[in-house]
């Protein structure tokens, strides 16, 4: 993490990694609710977003000289704002669990977003609130002018927050959050008020979400209503789920994948959201435990030295999957190009080939790759399934 920017000096990579750093804090804070506490929230951006707004106003006040506060610690302003709103909203939302909790969180998310239009003075209306992070005298040469300095700031906060949130899972409250997730009734009969456990979990989670919001404010120097919106709340749910809510490191993986999809794939194609949707769909259907569970399920296989049975089927899956993916991407890209630009610029370029989207041939090739890829992939998946069945059998035999 420290040497990465030395290798990738492009601004783009730095942006991506900064965003991942913030995303990791946000997703881990979200997973305190979803994974640890069993609370499915549709409004977590409320806490990060309000954290960002309070940070941006604080930064502007500091710039005016109203009071002094180091920019390095500005995320604490965001965290405190998140915590305070966590106390206010969380007390209501955490009275119930399950679907009711999810619905109330959605309602509060909509309410806060509506407020952003009603109070343009605080939320800045359409344009949002802008700021300048370079204020005051440089301290040891740190001005936070160059993106690289902000990158290191984000990484320092990300590491600290990761450590703190992991430590939380090893505390009485963290463990009881698991207990309340698994069996709220029993938790009540061993002395715990489940509402209080959920409430405190949400308040702490909001604190970390607010820190992520504060870092967002420093990184982009603008905070808009989008920061508290449903899209942001949905995004963190997506990232956490893709990574795996059942494991502490799941949301870390999820954020990496998510922001690569959003920023890197987003820079390549307009259809990035479509691909993200497909990835999410596939994960929900075939790997509901996320990437983290896919990794963890291989640990006993590695320990028993049975991976050699998987390499061949996996290689076959990768190869056939590449064909399928090429087919899918071709069909999607050609369709996009056809529907958006076929009248003005029927020519398009895709992985080195140049062709006219009004011709039949590119369509035939793309569909052929898609269908062919799907057919051959099925054989590979079957082989993977058989290899796994054999491995599970062997593992059971060895453990017995």
């Amino acid at each position: 993490m420290i040497v990465l920017p030395l290798i990738f000096t492009e601004g783009f990579t730095l942006t991506l990694m900064s965003q991942i750093g913030i995303g990791v804090i946000f997703a881990l804070s979200y997973n305190m609710l979803l994974g640890q506490g069993g609370m499915l929230s549709f409004g977590h951006a409320v806490y990060s977003g309000l954290g960002a707004y309070f940070s941006v106003h604080a930064l502007n006040l500091i710039a005016k000289g109203s009071f002094f506060f180091p920019v390095t610690l500005l995320p604490l302003v965001g965290g405190t704002a998140g915590l305070v709103f966590g106390v206010i909203f969380g007390y209501v939302t955490t009275k119930k669990s399950g679907t009711t909790f999810a619905m109330i969180s959605l309602g509060i998310g909509e309410m806060v977003f509506a407020c952003s239009l009603m109070f343009p003075g605080f939320f800045g209306g359409e344009g949002g609130i802008t700021t300048n992070r370079v204020i005051g005298q440089p301290f040891l040469g740190i001005t936070y002018g160059p993106a690289i300095q902000v990158y290191y700031l984000i990484m320092a906060w990300a590491l600290a927050c990761m450590a703190a949130m992991f430590a939380w899972t090893q505390t009485p409250l963290g463990r009881m959050a698991n207990a309340v997730r698994d069996n709220p009734e029993r938790a009540e009969f061993i002395g715990y008020d489940t509402h209080m456990v959920r409430f405190l979990t949400l308040v702490l989670s909001s604190f970390f979400a607010g820190i992520a919001g504060g870092l967002n404010c420093i990184s982009y120097e603008i905070v808009t209503a989008e920061n508290v919106g449903a899209v942001r709340s949905g995004g963190v749910l997506l990232a956490t789920f893709i990574g795996g809510a059942g494991f502490f490191f799941g949301p870390i993986l999820g954020s990496i994948v998510f922001f690569i999809m959003v920023i890197a794939v987003g820079a390549l194609t307009k259809a990035w959201l479509f691909y993200l949707g497909i990835l999410f769909l596939l994960m929900v259907l075939y790997a509901p435990g996320g990437f983290a569970s896919l990794i963890v399920m291989h640990l006993p296989v590695m320990k028993e030295r049975l991976m050699n049975r998987l390499w061949l089927p996996y290689a076959a899956t990768l190869t056939t999957g590449a064909v399928l993916l090429a087919g899918l991407v071709s069909v999607v890209e050609i369709t996009y190009h056809y529907s958006l630009e076929s009248n003005t610029a029927p020519q398009m370029k895709l992985s080195g080939f140049e062709f006219d989207v009004t011709d039949a041939l590119p369509w035939a090739v793309a569909l052929g790759l898609l269908v062919g890829g799907f057919i051959v992939s099925r054989f590979a998946w079957k082989a993977v399934g058989q290899a796994w069945a054999g491995i599970i059998h062997t593992l059971q035999e060895r453990s017995a």
Binding site: A167, W168, Q170, T171, P172, L173, G174, R175, M176, N178, A179, D182, N183, E185, R186, A187, E188, F189, I190, G191, Y192, D193, T194, M196, V197, L200, L204
Partner: protein, 250 residues
Amino acid sequence: MSTAIELRGVMKSFGNTAIIRGVDLAVARGERHAIIGPNGAGKSTLFNLISGRYPVSGGDILLNGESVTGLKPFEINRRGLSRSFQITNIFQRMSVFENIRCAVLWSLGYKYSFWHRLGGLKDANLRAEEVMESIGLKRRRDTSAGVLSYAEQRALEIGVTIAGGADVILLDEPTAGMSRTETADAVELIRKVSQDKTLIMVEHDMGVVFDLANRISVLVYGEIIASDMPGNIRGNKAVQEAYLGTEAAA
């Protein structure tokens, strides 16, 4: 004050159906008290009222002389009453050790702490190990509760119930569904863990009841028709008619 639990005219209705129709009961401290009665008599409902799972429709419940009527389950638990469930009710995804440790945290004062590290809580870890030892699940320490055998899960259920050190313990059919040898083990376990405590249990197995209980109450259609020493209950005419008689005839 030597009464651990006292019920005064406790009533419970669901809609128009009266399930508990005015129960008076006093269980002395240190007593092992069994509640028996035919199916549908309201035994489990009575437990749910005492432990705060359901609110009462009428009457008063006193724990160690203080009214606990209308309190939430966790509040009643904090006052020293703990219960088990007829259908095993544990933290399935957690290990045996974690189950027990969760159950000792509140009583040792760790409450909602997020500034203690679980691994460093010597007293909680020691207490959890002791409880595991006493319920005979030490060798299953790190096994997920969900994959334990039925009898082991029932033992863990009792372990979670007693771990917090409550002095009034309610056990709801602790031996239901067990084989003869498992039942014998369970009886020994209950005898051991209820030492110097007040125990109230609902139980169908008459062998277990007469083996363990100092006193027995017979609940029929939401009313206690007799509450006496085991010997006297056996000879009670009304009880024989209402309960033991029907079973003997069946």
